[in-house]
């Protein structure tokens, strides 16, 4: 009778350990709650270990206990690895603002470069009337034009006085 009770204790411990280990495994894989799974993981390992020592004393079957112990250990390892996952993501998140700043600067430079070499053409049509304005924003052209204008005689020719 006493032996049967002991056997039952070992078996019950095995069942409890296996259920806890399975739940831990499912929880450990989900990143949101993965870190929390380390608590039931440790409980599963302890239950399985106690059950195994019971089983060794009473010479009862250990299949369920060994399965619970293995699943519990693997689940706890997965759960523990979530710490590293969180660490790596946090590390990457710190680098993101710098990278975003770099990208913004690059885009800004490119836009400015494009604008420097831009040709602008504006056409306005109203009925039969047409107005077309062509201008260039090319830095080189503008410098050349400025030099040209500076080289010309800049004295004001006022025609109104002559009249």
């Amino acid at each position: 009778m006493e032996e049967e009770v002991k056997n039952n204790t070992g078996q019950n411990l095995g069942i409890a350990a296996l259920i806890t280990a399975i739940i831990t495994f499912v929880l450990a894989v989900i990143p949101c709650v993965g870190l929390m799974a380390i608590i039931p993981g440790i409980i599963a390992i302890v239950l399985a270990s106690v059950g195994l020592s019971h089983a060794a004393r009473t010479d009862s079957p250990r299949g369920v206990l060994v399965a619970a112990l293995i699943i519990g250990i693997v689940a706890s390892l997965i759960s523990f690895s979530q710490v590293f996952v969180a660490g790596k993501i946090a590390e990457k998140a710190d680098k993101w603002p710098d990278r975003i700043e770099e990208i913004v600067t690059d885009v800004q430079d490119k836009i400015l470069e494009d604008l420097e070499d831009a040709n602008v053409s504006i056409k306005i049509e109203s009925g039969d009337e047409k107005i077309e304005i062509n201008t260039s924003a090319k830095k080189k052209d503008l410098v050349e034009k400025l030099e040209e204008l500076e080289g010309e005689d800049t004295s004001v020719v006022d025609t109104l006085d002559q009249e």
């Binding site: 296996l18 399975i22 949101c32």
Partner: protein
């Protein structure tokens, strides 16, 4: 309480209870009120949402028949929900088979283990990928 002597049946009964609790949790807490008690530890630590964020919302929405919204909350929500739903059915079906067909119990347990592992890997594949990618 005859089933207590059968570890397989006990495990099945407890796991059925756990899955039922997940379903009840999803029904009780409303996605519109956003009153879920479980928050993402990962997001709290890193400030970045993880691959499983929005899973509770997704489950609640699936149970309310709002599948499209569920997909918006978490793309993998449906897959994980189907895993739990299938597991619930499997626990009941396998328990009944276990009681009825006493000669093929070992084969039944092996089939259950292999089937469950495969389903688990399919449903949680993306979570494993995420884990491997960042660890």
């Amino acid at each position: 309480m005859k089933f207590i002597k059968e570890p397989y049946l006990t495990i099945n009964v407890v796991l059925t209870g756990v899955i039922m609790l997940i379903m009840i949790y999803s029904v009780i807490f409303s996605p519109d009120k956003d009153d879920y008690p479980v928050t993402c530890i990962h997001e709290k630590l890193t400030g970045e949402p993880c691959v499983s964020c929005g899973l509770s919302h997704s489950f609640s929405l699936i149970l309310r028949g709002r599948v499209e919204e569920a997909y918006q909350w978490n793309v993998y929500g449906m897959r994980v929900f189907l895993f739990f739903a299938l597991q619930l059915l499997m626990r009941i079906a396998f328990s009944l088979f276990y009681i009825r067909f006493t000669d093929t119990r070992k084969q039944l347990i092996m089939m259950d283990i292999i089937g469950s592992i495969l389903l688990f890997l399919i449903a949680f594949r993306q979570f494993f990928v995420y884990l491997i990618k960042y660890s």
